[in-house]
């Protein structure tokens, strides 16, 4: 296990050490926090826009960040030779692949957890302030929630810069970590300022929103595992093209299955049907997703992740490293 943790830790650090990661963390989390400001039209439910903005940020930014990190940490290491130096020692290739993929998973899950906390705060900020009149929308955003979310994220980024300046901490890694950890802190600060109607409101909000994020994050992890498996053999451009095709195919599983049941079945066996994992509609009007459904989807994700990690391990084991 020590080898596994050494490799996974390095992969997680590598995932967060790129400037792209810091930009993704900052941009995505600020976008979620600022979503209440964009209440220009009526959605029927004040918290809907922030909530769907948070889920979209996880899907789009999270997937882009994690697949590029997987390609970087596995593909680039194999092509540059960093991997050769490790594999020349007594490190089994399957362990190498699984540990590296797990490291990228850890970085992605950090982002997912931060996005979930930011979304909960943003949805609450929006719901508290918006007063929907019969003739239109009178938007009054709850200021302390916005201040905690946006201010906390920017402050965390500034602290990362200061830590880099005065203590030589790695800027991108600390920026990602600090902005991520700032989200639950901002949520708790908003809670302390009376942002939630009663003591149970925060727990109820978590119970509604977090399973939806967990399910979508599980679906995304399958794509990260697929990208990691492809990166053992193919160049980044090929992996990017295949990933784009895979994401589109997974959204179109249902119509494809109607046109060609065999093709639909094959896609469903290899990839998560993302339309099933996008559960935003179940949260409308105070609704929550069923726990047995959430567990079923998480089990499907776990099986597909294990499958693609196995494929990646076999592909790496058979690869020559010139």
């Amino acid at each position: 296990m020590r080898r596994f943790f050494a490799l996974a830790r390095t992969a997680a650090l590598e995932s967060l050490a790129e400037s792209l990661s810091a930009v993704v963390f900052l941009a995505a989390l600020l976008l979620v926090h600022l979503a209440p400001v964009f209440h220009y039209h009526r959605f029927g439910e004040a918290a809907r826009l922030p909530r769907e903005c948070g889920l979209s940020a996880l899907l789009v930014f999270g997937l882009a960040f994690a697949t590029s990190a997987a390609v970087r940490t596995i593909g680039r290491e194999l092509s540059s030779g960093t991997a050769s130096a490790a594999l020349a020692l007594a490190v089994p290739r399957a362990l190498f692949h699984c540990a590296k993929t797990a490291g990228v998973f850890a970085a992605f899950l950090l982002f997912a957890a931060a996005a979930a906390c930011a979304t909960l705060l943003s949805a609450r900020t929006s719901a508290l302030g918006a007063q929907i009149a019969a003739t239109g929308v009178d938007v009054r955003i709850w200021g302390p929630g916005l201040m905690c979310g946006v201010g906390g994220t920017i402050l965390a980024f500034a602290m990362a810069a200061a830590a880099n300046r005065f203590m030589r901490w790695r800027f991108c890694v600390s920026a990602c970590l600090m902005t991520a950890f700032a989200q639950p802190v901002a949520l708790m600060a908003a809670f302390a300022m009376g942002g939630f109607a009663d003591d149970g409101a925060l727990a109820r909000g978590m119970a509604r929103l977090f399973p939806a994020f967990a399910v979508l994050a599980g679906g995304c992890l399958v794509f990260v595992a697929l990208a990691a498996a492809l990166a053992t053999r193919f160049k980044a451009s090929v992996v990017a093209a295949v990933m784009a095709g895979a994401v589109v195919a997974s959204f179109l599983t249902a119509p494809m299955a109607q046109m060609c049941p065999f093709a639909g079945g094959v896609i469903r066996a290899l990839l998560p049907a993302l339309s099933d994992f996008w559960v935003a509609d179940q949260l409308l009007g105070g609704g929550a997703m069923q726990m047995d459904e959430a567990l079923r989807l998480l089990a499907v994700s776990a099986l597909l992740v294990a499958f693609w990690m196995g494929v990646g391990s076999v592909m790496l084991s058979r690869r020559e490293l010139p």
């Binding site: 020590r2 080898r3 030779g81 020349a88």
Partner: protein, 247 residues
Amino acid sequence: MSESIVEIKGVSKTFKDFWLRPVAEAVRGVDIEVEKGDVFGLLGPNGSGKSTTIKMLLGLLKPSSGEIRLFGLPPHDRRARARLGYLPELSYLHPFLTARETVLYYAGLSLMPRRAAKARAAELLATVGLAGNEDRPVGGFSKGMARRVAFAAALVAQPELLVLDEPTSGLDPIGTRDVKNLIRRLADGGMTVLITSHQLFDMQDICSRVAILSHGRVVGGGRISDIVSKASDKRHALEDYFAEVVA
């Protein structure tokens, strides 16, 4: 009778393309034996098959034919690979890790106890001349400094066999001298060292035996003392011998 650490018998390697058509025959029927305590130089011009031979020995490439034994075991056997240290031709290091973290990373991969690894990392970084730079990210290091970090990483688990691919590449004259002295000290301590290099003058100084590869074949070699004793110009004995056999 001396113990064989590395046995390479009739090994060939042909690289193939996607359609499995042969592209290049990098190594052709190579026979090499490295004994315990040897400082063995694998020499040859560019493209002679040195690095391919090393990578087959490390289990990174599979030979097309022939047999390789490392400590009497197949090269992909983890028990054999656990006893070696490897310095790649280029110092591929994670740029975001510090020098100390890099050495500790390789110590972790070699399953060294954490406390012992920390002490060993500090000792090795001082040995390779990086005292005071332990906590700087290697991404900001010069090529020579990165090479020193990679050298320390190769030595961290106290290997019995040290495989060095172009160890002095990118080093300044002082660095080259330090590395040569270090290799001598390691050999005096009983470590077996396998080196590939173009620096014939340096190799003559530190190697006990050499094999010379050209176009994938072993075209010459033997004990350095024998090569030097037969040469008219003792100072350039290996250089003259190399030119003679490769030509």
